[in-house]
Symmetry: C2
Subunit: 197 residues, 2 copies
């Protein structure tokens, strides 16, 4: 193998999530055969994005402006706050178009295994925001995983005194999901939470 | 979704081989949360690699120097030339340590479907090299695909007059491969080319 910039580039690419040595080599060769049309523009755009994209100091979302466009949008409902783990969750919910309130991005989930405690997340900021903005409802839109659910419990406990309505996403059969492929936990929850047809 | 540099960055990442929208979003968020430790170094390394890595004018390999380190290495056998489609194939063969000759990188394979003809590959350069260096053997180390084999046929035809021994890689059962999972073509070839045990 070749030492120097090529080896370094492959190593850097291989450390990105979802990529390994083989895919990193493939991407490096792809870029090297398109230096002016793909490689240099990508370098420039990485530099530009690192410089121009900001974390919103209100909600933690990523945007070119601070506060972000969602926090600045006056048509959005300030009475309902949706707590998510990551910016990608904001994007996922925005893609549905089904939510018109505002967000609070925690920046991760509590995890004893990874040593992530409350002080590593924006939980203190959430409490301050709930005290200042006094929303009618806080939706805990966290993953249905062990870490997601323990984070939800932790936040619900902390929020108990603020007189805000704390809700969670419904659990059940995913739309388009076949019962045959679902785990027992999901089916049990969907049975317990059944509604009139 | 967010317009501006973030959307552009995700679009650029999603156009890399093996990546789609979801993995590109994931990589962009990963980088944005590590701007100084991963994002800016990657931008710098892309720029540096685009500037410093050269295509060897002799064999087509990528290296910081031209001619490349393999072409300059005097311990390597100049009497045997290995023809490969891409630089990644040079790396694959070098990783084995089983070949001590030199390479010639075609830069792709003939493909009627993709409109890639002999003039798009370094076939003219190969002929000139064979005439000038007069190697005892030219190994056609091309993929066992339709495009790979038609490229091998084409080159073997062109080389017929130069008095050089033209060889190909052996076909057969991959080392560690289970017969049960192999296609009929491979098994047929392996049977025909069987050797004494």
């Amino acid at each position: 193998m070749i030492d120097g910039p090529l080896e370094h580039l492959i190593k850097m690419l291989a450390s990105l999530p979802g990529l390994g040595n083989r895919s990193a080599r493939r991407i490096a060769l792809h870029l090297l055969s398109r230096r002016d049309s793909a490689m240099r523009p990508l370098a420039t755009m990485l530099e530009r994005a690192a410089r121009e994209i900001k974390n919103c100091t209100v909600c933690g979302n990523l945007d070119m402006h601070d506060p972000c466009r969602i926090c600045r949008d006056e048509r959005r409902d300030t009475k309902i706050l949706c707590v998510v783990a990551d910016v990608s969750d904001v994007w996922a919910i925005e893609r549905t178009g089904a939510f018109r309130g505002r967000y609070h991005v925690l920046g991760g989930l509590l995890s004893a295994l990874d040593g992530i405690g409350p002080e590593d997340l924006r939980i203190r900021g959430l409490e301050e925001r709930v005290q200042a903005e006094n929303p009618a409802e806080v939706i805990l839109a966290l993953s249905a995983t062990v870490d997601g659910q323990s984070t939800a419990h932790f936040i619900a406990d902390r929020m108990a005194g603020y007189g805000t309505n704390i809700t969670r996403l419904a659990h059940g059969v995913p739309v388009g999901g076949e019962l045959d492929y679902l785990d027992e936990g999901t089916i049990t929850t969907a049975l317990k939470s059944r509604s009139a047809a």
